[in-house]
Symmetry: D2
Subunit: 364 residues, 4 copies
């Protein structure tokens, strides 16, 4: 009951990082949607480690098989199962750490909860779990492209540690432009500094975090439910369910607390076509939990990843205090570039679900 997300466009992910496979079952995808299956693999490739020197050099490949639900490039209205075999099964790779509760990893809490854990790798806490989410988003995005082609979702690296990109004028950004940059940061000045920082950190065996911004453009008005399933509440849950996230903002976010109401309120106006819009967008495109037709803007904080190659104090499974000195390995010193498609994926899943939910909110 804990491995599903969404109400009408519902996904269930499965798989341990070092088990047989990871994947997803999508239940609730409407029938008759044309699917370009290459796009699923493209999404998985974007999520994959080993894309540049700045990220982990593992080549996990992550080749997707479609087990059900799509025939002749069309959805059947039946569950869509997307499966990715693990090439890296239960090797001894992690053997030196299997006996250790690694600091700020999920090893200890998993044991505390279940009394058992996958014998190698991070199990469900591994970032490999997000393969299912990203694969599902590749379908969800094509559903949205069919039902409401104007909607556009893209994210980018907004900051790495204290280096902030200039994200203000995001109107010139697009997923294509962002994808052409090595760190998925469209501010080239900032990107150079981030690159240098990440290489320095890598050399030291340390890690850094940062923030992702994501925008939803041309979202119709009316998406989101007014009480518990407010659009921002579902976006918060969606993104805060990604590994390593520590904060979420919509619109002005925490900065809104520093404004007077008279500054923060977004005045309504009417454009030349008679359409209502707001002259500012401090609200981030959502009012009362429901989209108002302006851009939806969110920001997500990722902590520095817990895997570092420095000596640390910790405890082993025999409850002994030990010094843990992992040998240098193949982890990202900074997950931010890979977090871009993960945040986009969760946002797209929320939008697809709310789009279907909205179809039945009023009598037709």
């Amino acid at each position: 009951m804990a491995n599903s997300f969404g109400n009408l466009f519902k996904i269930t992910t499965y798989g341990e990082s070092h088990g047989e496979a990871v994947g997803v079952v999508i239940d609730g995808c409407p029938a008759g949607i044309k699917i370009n299956t290459d796009k699923i693999q493209n999404w998985l490739n974007r999520r994959r480690p080993g894309q540049s020197v700045l990220t982990s050099p593992r080549d996990e490949k992550d080749k997707v098989e479609i087990l059900s639900g799509i025939e002749q490039n069309t959805t059947l209205g039946t569950p869509i199962t997307l499966n990715v075999k693990n090439s890296n099964k239960r090797s001894g790779d992690y053997s030196d750490i299997q006996n250790v509760y690694r600091p700020s990893h999920a090893d200890y809490t998993t044991h505390a909860k279940y009394g058992i854990a996958a014998s190698s790798g991070g199990g469900r806490a591994s970032a490999r779990e997000t393969i299912g989410r990203v694969a599902a988003a590749a379908i969800a995005e094509q559903v949205l492209n069919t039902l409401c082609p104007t909607i556009e979702v893209f994210a980018w690296v907004d900051s790495v540690k204290d280096i902030k990109a200039n994200s203000k004028d995001y109107s010139s950004f697009s997923r294509d432009i962002i994808e052409q940059t090595p760190l998925r940061c469209p501010d080239s000045e900032a990107q150079k500094k981030m690159e240098q920082l990440i290489l320095d950190v890598k050399k030291k065996g340390d890690s850094v975090g940062g923030t992702i911004r994501c925008v939803i453009k041309n979202l119709p008005t009316g998406l989101g439910e007014p009480v518990f399933d407010k659009l921002e509440a579902d976006l918060a849950k969606a993104t805060m369910s990604l590994p390593a996230t520590k904060g979420f903002e919509v619109g002005e976010g925490f900065a809104s607390c520093l404004m007077y109401g008279s500054e923060h309120n977004d005045a309504f106006a009417i454009d030349q076509k008679g359409k209502i819009y707001t002259t500012t967008n401090h609200s981030g495109g959502i009012q009362g939990g429901i989209s108002n037709g302006q851009d939806v803007l969110i920001r997500v904080a990722f902590k520095p990843v817990a895997t570092i190659f420095k000596s640390q104090q910790t405890v082993n499974k025999q409850k002994q205090q030990i010094t843990f000195s992992p040998r240098s390995g193949r982890h990202d010193p900074c997950v931010l570039p890979r977090a871009v498609p993960m945040v986009e994926a969760m946002v797209i899943l929320v939008i697809a679900d709310h789009f279907l939910r909205h179809l039945i909110s009023k009598a037709i």
Copy 2:
């Protein structure tokens, strides 16, 4: 389907702000829990406006009736219905604003979604909707007190606009202490400044926002599910579903982005009783989505409330551009003190739900 929250301890709220009643049905409360029904009313009183000059002078009273589920102060295992009649039904009170899309209110988006809205008041978007949540939390807290008496949840005003309380040493705080302060801010220096600011803002007809901090003490290890229903993800959704919220943080939150992994990681250690703990708590008590036994710490941003008594540009339902100048009324210039029990309520509902969920996570 949008008015329920929780999986096993599940609440459904109902009621428009100016309709007959607002309330909640709780489904999934275990049988045999002793309930002090006065505590329900106490929680509602804490939520109520009109508690001081600093908050709205309306006296809404909010007297709770128990319609089902409790007999002789004991839960029957059946749905618990808590109903509060609205004394302030569809009066002309709001008549001057019924034709206006008030800036940054839910009027416009509600119409866009449903094509209809409650004829007076904010309908479901009103803060009165939280009556059901707070009443349900009064039950949930007593369930937790029975099943795990050590758990303690309290929140306080952490900042109002740019005035920040000293929240660092929260270990001396408690709900009792906080409740004895007029603004629910245990830093008396900061509180005085906040008080002055709010009175100034009230005079100007403007509004201010701020942040709430909430802590869960003595939470057992093992609560939270490792994938989508991570404890922080559910806390984020819960609090971001409250009206006027714009941001959420757990542990170090956005500040974690400025730290190296070697600084942020929480080292495990063993105390004298052989219990594992962490020597720091940057993670905020959660790792891999599951509680680790340390304090869970969150922070929630509330924007300045949208209701102000200044002239604003907006649009009416006839799609005419107008100047909107509401007469001075009875709204809070700052909701932060009342937001304290609302945040606590949502946190308690999440904990009660995850406590029940955890009971069946391993073979007994």
Copy 3:
């Protein structure tokens, strides 16, 4: 989690038979549906005991209050709460039986499950719980009347003990015609015999059961989901969740087992308007769990009610074997006439839910 029914048109009922109130919250009713509120009361009156000498003489009245979700006779898209106060609260009426596990009642199993039970009356096991279901169906039927006005649902008494009505030619039946008959049985010959039997049984302090037939006419093709939520599976659950039900059939039901496939198969044909139909309807309007456009026909078995006024062996709460001789009271010797609106209500709730579900099953 056990008191809700439906996926998109979702109801949650609450209330003990002798508590403050019983009622229902409907979540998921589309906005903008015109509601004739008198129809809610009419449905409750049909369900009510005391309608003739043949049923229980209690006059429970059951006056409905609308607490939320409807304004100016129109649904707001918000939760609709329908509340009925109990006039008959925790009186001593049931005092002689509070200490007894009445044979074939829910007293014993309720205690076994919860360790506690409502101090008087049947609690949630009472037929009063169906008030919420019937009130919700009054809304659901009006939703269907708006979205698909041709759909028609009616039920009738098909048999009482061994007296069977001639139900074969139901095409001349209608709810209006059935309602004009004292026992809701449109075969006047059979009805007279049933009436005599019930009066005899009443005199003896005994009880009888029987069967209800229900038909859904003009249901569009395509309702029902092909795997677990087959239309017949949801109809089975819906009706088998009514008190005192022991069996369910669709189409030929158990009689289908006596036919060869070549007899049972329904041949497809094309009518003069080019519409596909079946020349027979052994399937009862459903194939592969999905409606095929023909009449959906079900039959539900109700056991003789457990309340009788004869001396019986049983056990009390002190685990003593006793002889239980209830004084003659005010219960129905035969619930069949009142079961007619209950079965209709559950069928309508299933259809409303599947109608909404079907709206999102293919790309539009």
Copy 4:
């Protein structure tokens, strides 16, 4: 949303009969349960066609792969994915029937609902979909064996067409005994007649139906929820969601309608160990929707299968009236023997779910 079953022990099945694979994801299985993986394959073998001359000669093999959730024969508390590749993919096998709406099959309703259907085979309407259910039940049964080892579930062929087994004295039956009989009917007299009938019917290209009985022995008291999720309601839905089912009974079923209340009521008594039981079991082990500790007894009607090898009138996808004369093929003339494990599987899934639900129904 339509391919999941269960609340806490929740399964999601996927796969078209002639696609890549069929399978199931189980979410909510407690951690730490020992699993004999051979038992999964055994269950699939029991479900498989081609077990005797009386059933379909296809050898589908149905070899299960465990993709996630189990390691070293122990559940991890994570989703368990059981996958079975289809050896019989989109061949031309069904080519002569792809253009035809076969009488009493799901072809027409699937098209009416989705506007598209799997290009060969029955898609989700095929009995191959039950592979996922049966595999999940193999896990669920081992969960029950661990948590409550006394519970025993077995089913048998109660009748084929008008040949009825003597099922009255089922206390001497067991799954082992039933499995040793060719038709899964423990009455050898009846079985011989059934066998002859099925061979005759096969020769004629026709088909027959019948009934399955299933018993749950040693079920603890307290399982089932008192309102919508009554144990019998969930058993009805579970079994009526199997292909080809037309009726469901619990306890005396439709025969209860022929009894007086004074005959049908089950008197409570106390056994020598002080345990409460009923001296008769007309209720079938459930009262008020909750198990009372006696045997739970159900009966399920299966229609004669729709696939026959006789000439039939029907319509093709071009809406032309045609005569359909399928060449003799490899289908069962009678599914009853294979329906035995399917009914058992659905019953076990219901019991496992309600067992977990009951764990949190009262304060501990």
